[in-house]
């Protein structure tokens, strides 16, 4: 790997920038690997990176049915925050936020993590009580979160309409200053480049068609479109397709896959300094560095793998955005897209060993997987390397759906999140 630096950039300028090597050259799969990761999104590539960088396991292959970063890694709204109510969730998501800090330096790749703050608006008395409870719970867990008055919200985010006659009056807000955004593609690319530099193979356009198990039940490899590839351990990080992959190993999962839509406007000059979320009307908005407003909301209603959703969901989202930010009523929307998110019954992820020896899973992130990318990747790598979960992801096991110890963030946030 040729490092990005001022000096290298300067030197390459005399060379027509022809000296930069390919970040992830196409490879033919080897006959066998120590670890195979299924799914080359941010989570899967990150896990491969940490396996190599932290645990010295470099005989690793990441298999992807489409192209690198072409699933939910490229289909989200890039919001980063860790203001979750329950202790388990706060620790999990804050682990990720801590890793976002310094990720660009670690990867020598600019992931454009911007701590512009995530402001969650309160529109009614219930919101105020719920958000203040979140703030206190967060502070007990060492997660920054503070209460802003209506006027302070307006000062922090000038496009807000705080008139008391507004359809959704702003009664205050909860602000996590460490929250913000990052560049989604860069995260996948940065991890891919870092992993390949340490010896990891990335095989794209190669769907996994089966998981082969030995006589003792343990995994011995995967069947793919490019033939059988042996593996001692397999990590599944396949987002919306996780149910299908796990069924190949004979496991039924507590997951349902839904389209989650997002959309961007035409690019405009910098107008929106932070991320604003409103749980009550359920919409969120930020402005990318390109200038587009990035807008999202809840999932579509029904199970689907179509990677597109219904128009009336977008209409509902934009109606809410226009009520809170009348300044945007004449913006034109450029693109919409849908990602397929795998949702668990308690809206908390599953990051655990499975009943099949050698098979590990990272799934169920639902509508909030992007923010967790470095944390999930690190913990999946830890779980695979040690054949045991880290203390942070131990509660996010499969057993909780049997013993009832759910981490019910669905009830805590009152929306999918």
């Amino acid at each position: 790997m040729k490092r990005f630096s001022g000096l290298n950039l300067f030197a390459e300028a005399f060379n027509g920038h022809k000296g930069w090597p390919e970040h992830w050259p196409d490879k033919a799969p080897k006959a066998a690997y120590d670890v195979i990761i299924i799914g080359a999104g941010g989570h899967g590539l990150g896990a491969a990176y940490y396996l190599a960088a932290k645990y010295g396991i470099t005989n690793v292959c990441v298999i992807e049915k489409g192209w690198l970063g072409g699933g939910n890694a490229g289909r989200n709204t890039t919001i980063i925050r860790s203001n979750y109510l329950y202790d388990e969730s706060a620790h999990l998501y804050d682990h990720a936020v801590k890793l976002w800090d310094g990720l660009s330096q670690e990867l020598n790749y600019n992931v454009m993590y911007s701590k512009r703050g995530v402001l969650m608006l309160a529109h009614n008395v219930h919101d105020i009580q719920s958000f203040k409870r979140h703030i206190h719970a967060n502070r007990l867990n060492g997660v920054d979160n503070e209460w802003l008055s209506t006027e302070a919200c307006k000062a922090y985010c000038p496009p807000l309409d705080i008139s008391p006659n507004a359809r959704h009056p702003v009664l205050g807000g909860a602000l996590q200053r460490r929250g913000g955004t990052a560049r989604h593609d860069s995260v996948a690319w940065g991890y891919a480049r870092g992993a390949v530099a340490r010896g990891v193979d990335i095989i794209q356009n190669c769907a996994v068609t089966g998981i082969r198990r030995g006589p003792d039940g343990a995994v011995i490899g995967v069947e793919t479109e490019k033939g059988f590839i042996g593996a001692k351990k397999i990590g599944v990080s396949a987002a919306g397709s996780t149910s299908l992959v796990m069924r190949m190993a004979g496991l039924d999962f507590p997951l349902e896959s839904y389209p989650l839509q997002a959309l961007v406007s035409e690019p405009v000059k910098p107008i929106f300094p932070c991320v604003v979320m409103s749980n009550t009307v359920h919409a969120y908005i930020s402005q990318s560095d390109k200038g587009e407003l990035v807008i999202g909301a809840g999932t579509d209603a029904y199970v689907s793998y179509s990677q597109r959703g219904a128009l009336h969901i977008i209409e509902h989202t934009l109606a809410a955005i226009c009520e809170i930010f009348p300044i945007f009523t004449r913006m034109r929307m450029l693109r919409t897209w849908g990602g397929i998110v795998d949702v668990t019954p308690d809206r908390s992820p599953i990051l655990a060993k499975t009943p099949v020896p050698g098979l590990y899973v990272n799934c169920g992130w639902g509508t909030g997987g992007f923010k967790a990318t470095p944390g999930a990747a690190d913990l999946l790598a830890h779980t695979i390397a040690h054949d045991a979960p880290h203390a942070i992801n131990a509660p996010f096991n499969l057993d909780r759906f049997r013993n009832g110890r759910l981490i019910d963030e669905a009830a805590a946030a009152a929306v999918a999140h």
Binding site: S243, D252, A301, A310, L311
Partner: protein, 95 residues
């Protein structure tokens, strides 16, 4: 927006008139006390989540307000058939 055929109203109506009710044909246990934890887990949480034909419940909330069942392809979102509650899942849609 997709059109959904309500088997009671016998009309194709827009999706916004309906609400989704999750996977169909999950019968509530007749003797709940006899179930062990694994069976409860399966009943409450495990879902087929197929890529292809999916039998699911819908409710014509802004019409006749009745629940019915449908088989829909989860890749194309195309409805293959809708049928009344209590009727068995049509054969040939079990891929």
């Amino acid at each position: 927006m997709i059109l959904i055929h309500c088997p009671y109203c016998e009309e194709d109506r827009p999706e916004v008139e309906f609400t989704y009710g999750g996977e169909a044909h999950i019968a509530r246990p007749l003797d709940p006390g006899a179930l062990d934890d694994r069976q409860w887990e399966t009943y409450l949480y495990i879902r087929r989540n197929p890529r292809g034909a999916h039998a699911e419940r819908w409710r014509h909330a802004h019409g006749c307000a009745r629940f019915f069942n449908a088989v829909r392809d989860t890749v194309t979102d195309r409805f293959e058939v809708t049928y009344k509650t209590g009727e068995p899942r049509p054969a040939g849609d079990t891929k």
